[in-house]
Symmetry: C2
Subunit: 406 residues, 2 copies
């Protein structure tokens, strides 16, 4: 298959590119390299030393003989170039990672809110629009998030995308109606993925586009079978308060003898998936494309759920790290349950990697190896969800931890 990976230079994008190239597909990376620019903006860097995308592609080619093509296109701002590229290249599938993907970054300031909305909505819409305009019938696989649903569930399992509801008609009869499972996003970032759902629903219905939307949990881990094969193929690994995600951050904090930073009570339950499973799921979804005219196919791409404080305590036991309970900069429920169905990927043959698999210590080993590259001041999560929260919570002068000032 000829596959375009939009955002193929990113944290999950790059391992996906290598995984699919390794399987023999012709892979094209389209990326505006915005994630590298944001590193520069924030003055942080990946814990792991990352080469340029061009250099990474060269190493992969030297190692495997397989070519990776890189195209510098901003899909949010360069509609014409994206459309023309699709028209000329005619990929069989497009995997769409090309969105700003950090909730804390999306909440930093009014500028960051606007950037996230405009970048994510325009990028996704330009892509859909260009697929219709070129008429190429590529299968679109999009990376969404479990977070669109919010976390105030009624104790029911979150189904895979759709909900059957009953509506009483004028004659008093109950009529069944299938709807998109209602979203209740908790950040600007999550909100953009909820907007994406509406865009997909429209373009599948009006134009018969074939679309798969993967509602992913929090990705942990850093290596895949392919990134392990050469030092310069190493994946990016974020530890900062904006882009680092909870489990990976705990493992890094443990590696550098920094207290594991739990926000609030740690009663938040979240869904997780290992990076290796993430790229496998994407391949499974690619090979299970909907037909033109089908509704959007939606998968829950996660393998287990955990409460944040349980994760922290598990890693504390494993590593001897301390746990610090800090004020929560997010506006969210202090405690929530979360049950998620992932029957479709299991039926397609996914054999999940769980936290018990020994890969936790691999992540700690990576973190220890590159610990000298960590700026401890960038570890705290400081983006506050509202002005009131910002006024109550601030970083202390040493920047090593948050404190409550209320």
């Amino acid at each position: 298959m000829k596959i375009a990976v939009l955002g193929g230079d990113g944290f999950v994008g790059w391992p996906t590119v290598l995984h699919l190239s390794d399987k023999g597909h012709e892979v094209h990376i389209i990326d505006n390299l915005s994630r590298r620019w944001i590193d520069t903006e924030l003055g942080v860097q990946s814990l792991t030393p990352m080469d340029s995308i061009q250099e990474r592609c060269r190493i992969w080619h030297d190692l495997t003989g397989r070519k990776l093509a890189f195209h510098l296109i901003d899909i949010a701002k360069e509609y014409d170039r994206l459309r023309d590229w699709l028209r000329d290249a005619r990929p069989d599938a497009v995997i769409h990672f090309a969105e700003q993907r950090a909730a804390p970054y999306s909440m930093k300031s009014d500028r960051h809110k606007n950037y996230t909305v405009n970048n994510n909505v325009s990028g996704t819409h330009n892509l859909l629009n260009a697929l219709v305009e070129t008429g190429i019938d590529a299968h679109l696989v999009h990376l969404g998030t479990m977070g669109v649903y919010g976390y105030s569930s009624v104790g029911a399992a979150i189904p895979e995308g759709y909900l059957d509801v009953e509506i009483e008609n004028l004659e008093g009869e109950k009529k069944g109606l299938e709807i998109l499972y209602p979203t209740r996003p908790g950040s600007i970032y999550h909100m953009t993925k909820s907007l994406d759902q509406i865009l997909f629903q429209f373009y599948a219905q009006n134009d018969g586009l074939r679309i798969t939307d993967l509602h992913q949990g929090i990705v942990w881990g850093t290596h895949t079978d392919q990134t392990r094969r050469h030092d310069q193929l190493i994946n990016r690994f974020d530890y900062d308060g904006d882009y680092g995600t909870v489990l990976n951050r705990f493992l890094i904090q443990a590696a550098i003898d920094y207290p594991l930073t739990v926000h609030g009570t740690g009663g938040q339950t979240r869904a997780f998936i290992h990076l290796q499973d993430s790229v496998r799921c994407i391949e499974l979804a690619l090979n299970d494309a909907p037909e033109a005219g089908d509704r959007v196919k939606i998968f829950n791409q996660m393998t287990e759920t955990h409460r944040v404080r349980d994760l922290a305590e598990m890693i504390a036991r494993l590593t001897g790290a301390k746990v610090a309970y800090l004020p929560n900069p997010r506006k969210e429920a202090a405690e929530n349950d979360l049950i998620v169905k992932n029957d479709q990927f299991l039926a397609l043959g996914l054999n999940p990697i769980t936290l018990a698999e020994g890969l936790l210590s691999e992540v700690v080993d990576v973190a220890k190896k590159y610990a000298h590259r960590i700026d401890r001041k960038r570890v705290p999560a400081v983006s506050a969800w509202t002005r009131d929260i910002a006024a109550r919570v601030e970083t202390d002068p040493e920047g090593t931890r948050l404190k409550s000032v209320s």
Copy 2:
């Protein structure tokens, strides 16, 4: 009250400005005048001769002694200017009309799709973002559309914004959950209003913004009590296939001896409201603001529903016009029922103007007075919803009617 009317130069915006100014409010018009630019782009013009917004404001001031301020700001592209204006002016309420509002225009080409999405999403989001950033606690009243719900109902009345559903939890108990009434938009334009709903839900929940969303039916009529007061206060009146709306178009077609153009079987049922009621409803909604922390208040702003062919036949009887059944350029259900609740406005005292009120002939009179300004070639609706439909349906060489070429 100090009120900002975003899009105050438009078809419903302008009469709203006059209505609120007449009631003694201090009204500020913010508009980028994009609707006038689109007239230029399409090479069509309002049937009624419209003065510049500055001239209209001057006439109103001469007539009534009331000042209207006009500010040329593009809310989609000039976030900083919008935010600074709000910070300095500190309005008590903001009425948001400033979106591209024609479904056929939004479907004309890939460029028009992108324009509509980017303009409408960025404009609405910039406004919400600026309201949070300035902290001014203005009540936001937004003009949405009944069309977000699509037209494949299960025969139940569409409630005002929310639906109670039951979800079975893991213990097998039914738990109630209130959700936004599910949307199923049928055009890019309608889709953007569905996206707006998600933006509003987030900002009300996260930041306590006080938001009212008015899901409006198709507006008919052209005069209000204020626009009648001077020739140069006349409202815009669109007859072309993109911006003209169905009932007004029938009345104009009848006035110029053009067959009433029904697309498909005319079995589409739609919701309607007279322009005078529309501005009254906006005033009622303004005075019934939600509290900070409330969910978004949603009204169905319509007064009656009609099947398109019934409207055409009624107007044919009234005027002697012929009815032409043409291929439908839209992708939509051929026939649908539509029942809509509007209990909230009735409870607030709205006394609806119905089609029986004699105002139909007023519209025909306006159309006859300005009939010399009509370009008959611009009457057909030619924007096709998909490439397949475009291939089947085209305008004949004289441009007086659509024909089927299949």
